[in-house]
């Protein structure tokens, strides 16, 4: 698929929503996507946090019913759907999970957040999800601040990142750029980044939802295909991602061709140093 019309749905959530209210919220947002003939819609992180799933997590054994429901929504809107993330009560704790559903309502794949906030269990697997749109990597919330996650997905063949995002307020555009924008540039993989806005469970979130591409693929060279007009209002951002142009950017500036694999063999050691003792221990062995 050379060109893909996508939507980043910038919206809030209310953890007090009943299941019916929650479904109405999703359906209402997806109606405008259907009107715009969008092929892919992405909701923000925590979109699945409502009465049944927050704070204890939706029971994993009940997911089948929920996924049928989400499949119905994807089918109604005739699009691929990433319904944000939701707390799921798994064996090892509450995970923050996202899904990709096809326009036929079929579940194509799942992804758990790998760097969840405190109190949540991290996912332990990562892979792009094959779909008719290409291979879709889902990068949830804080995972966008970890360049290794975007790199792994890109090396696994991701054509597109879907990013259910939630940036704490106050909004700093540079903080947002330091996340997904730079991962898109570092790997030359486009992204649909949907930001949570407003208050959720006592915390404020703000962000500008965006469709992102390698700078070479955007006419103004910014790497932003489309962006929300505000960082705090509900809005559906639509745009077209040109996967042919993406391939062209990779060919003209082949970042992955310059990997230094021998040097990278030292990375495991580096990670152990960086995460075991940030600061003082790093400098041990440094001469004075």
């Amino acid at each position: 698929m050379a060109r893909l019309k996508a939507a980043a749905i910038q919206s809030g959530v209310d953890v007090r929503w009943t299941p019916a209210e929650w479904v109405n919220h999703l359906r209402w947002q997806l109606a405008s996507c259907r009107e715009a003939e969008v092929q892919l819609a992405v909701f923000p992180a925590w979109t699945g946090a409502y009465q049944e799933s927050y704070p204890r997590g939706f029971p994993e054994e009940g997911l089948g019913t929920l996924l049928h429901l989400l499949g119905d929504l994807a089918r109604e809107a005739r699009l691929h759907l990433v319904p944000g993330s939701m707390p799921v009560r798994a064996e090892d704790g509450i995970r923050l999970r996202s899904f990709l559903l096809s326009p036929d309502g079929e579940l194509l794949g799942v992804q758990d957040q790998l760097c969840p906030p405190p109190g949540y269990a991290p996912g332990r697997a990562i892979a792009p999800i094959p779909s008719a749109l290409g291979r879709v990597g889902i990068v949830i919330e804080r995972d966008a601040e970890v360049p290794e996650i975007g790199r792994i997905l890109a090396l696994q063949g991701a054509d597109l990142y879907c990013v259910p995002a939630a940036l704490p307020a106050p909004y700093n555009p540079w903080r947002q750029a330091a996340g997904m924008w730079q991962i898109v540039q570092a790997n030359q993989v486009a992204a649909v980044e949907a930001c949570l806005v407003g208050e959720m469970a006592g915390r404020l979130y703000a962000g500008s939802s965006r469709l992102l591409g390698a700078v070479e693929t955007t006419s103004d060279g910014t790497g932003v295909i489309a962006a929300a007009a505000s960082a705090g209002q509900t809005e559906v951002v639509t745009g077209t991602i040109d996967l042919d142009a993406q391939a062209g950017a990779r060919a003209s500036f082949p970042i992955f061709a310059s990997f230094h694999r021998d040097l990278y063999k030292m990375l495991p050691r580096a990670y152990r140093i960086l995460t075991s003792a940030c600061g003082a221990a790093e400098k041990e062995g440094m001469p004075s």
Partner: protein, 443 residues
Amino acid sequence: MTGADLKIQAARAALWWRSRPGPVAGMIRGRGPTDAPEPREGRVRVAAVQVRATLSRTAVEFATRMELLVRQACLDGAEVVVFPEDNGTQLLGLLPGLEEMADGRCVEAAGMAVAEVIRLASPFIQRAFHTTFRELARAYRVWIVGGSIRLAAEDGRLVNVSYCYGPAGEIAGRQEKLHLMVQEEEWGFSPGRELTVVAGPRIGLAFPICHDATYFETFRLAAAAGAELVAIQAANPAEYKEWYARRGIWPRVQETPVYGIASHLVGSMLGMVFTGRSAICAPLALSPSGDGILAEASSHDAEEVIAADLDLSALADWRARHPLQLPVEVILRYLPACYEAGSSRNCAPAKDGDQGQKQRQKELAGQEHEEGPPPAQPVGEQESEVEIEERQAIQEEQEERQKTEGQEQGGQGEQVGGLGVPEDQHGGAEGSPAAGEPGDQGQ
């Protein structure tokens, strides 16, 4: 002896004469610190020098220009002064007739093989370069990252290499460019093998080159080796575009909390036009405007020196309060194998990946309709025996590592610090236990 041989001999003689160290040392001696501000406790003042490219016909001409820039930086109180990539390439002007031959055209278009030119001029431009910066560092009692120079190394490899000079005029460290551009590979250059960190003035300093800043891996390695400041030397032969430029050091400093310097070569040289805005960067929270910029050149095409204070206490405090939270287990399970698989973006065997996702889909979608208890973990994430052993091995290694870390780091030789690939470790001695295990690649 052929005519060509005679020309080469004549060129060597001219290079030798023009690169003599005596006049350079004589010009610099007697210069030195002026009324520069005193260093402040817990802070280091650094300068990025944006150099306008000009071929220098003699070492003295080059040194005179460099001296002016170092003086300017030191007057502003800088303790570390960073020059750009290809700063030493300006010394190719020592080669008689080069400027005329390449005027308005690239060297290759002028019918010259880049490798031949570098091999011919290498010993002489190296002599002029070292003399200039050793003398300047000593005279001004400052740390200088001299920018890069293209040389034939002792082992015959062509390298794009930078040197860091200490305030006693010593060579404190050497850094070859690690990630080469395609054109550099076509010219016959080889990548460096290790990343160096030197103990600068109260600060760990790494000084990789240009394209190295495209890769977060460089900064992870630098920080692990003790860098608090990563000084990138850049020469970008392309039209200036703000957001293209922002792909370099700025995001790297946000991902791996260090201070960053980018020093750019600008202007025309050897048929190429270089652009860039030099900058001194910091993690967002440590920059007054919240944009990650401490200082930035006012233009992308003019010579300029910028300087800023780096607050080491603030960085240490930030690191302590916001330690890197990385999913190390996941990273080690996947990333080494992905690198090994090559650059074709196919590290996850498609069938395995697809089957894994489909199996998870089936389990999740159909759980309520199937008999028996739900799986303990989502399908595709259950650890195999091999994975369990690997995880345990990593944990044991971590514990062992914590015990012996000081000893290991102290044993990195006379190079002040750094992470590299010793010859005997090529092939994966340091690779993660998961590297090369196809079972770890898909779900």
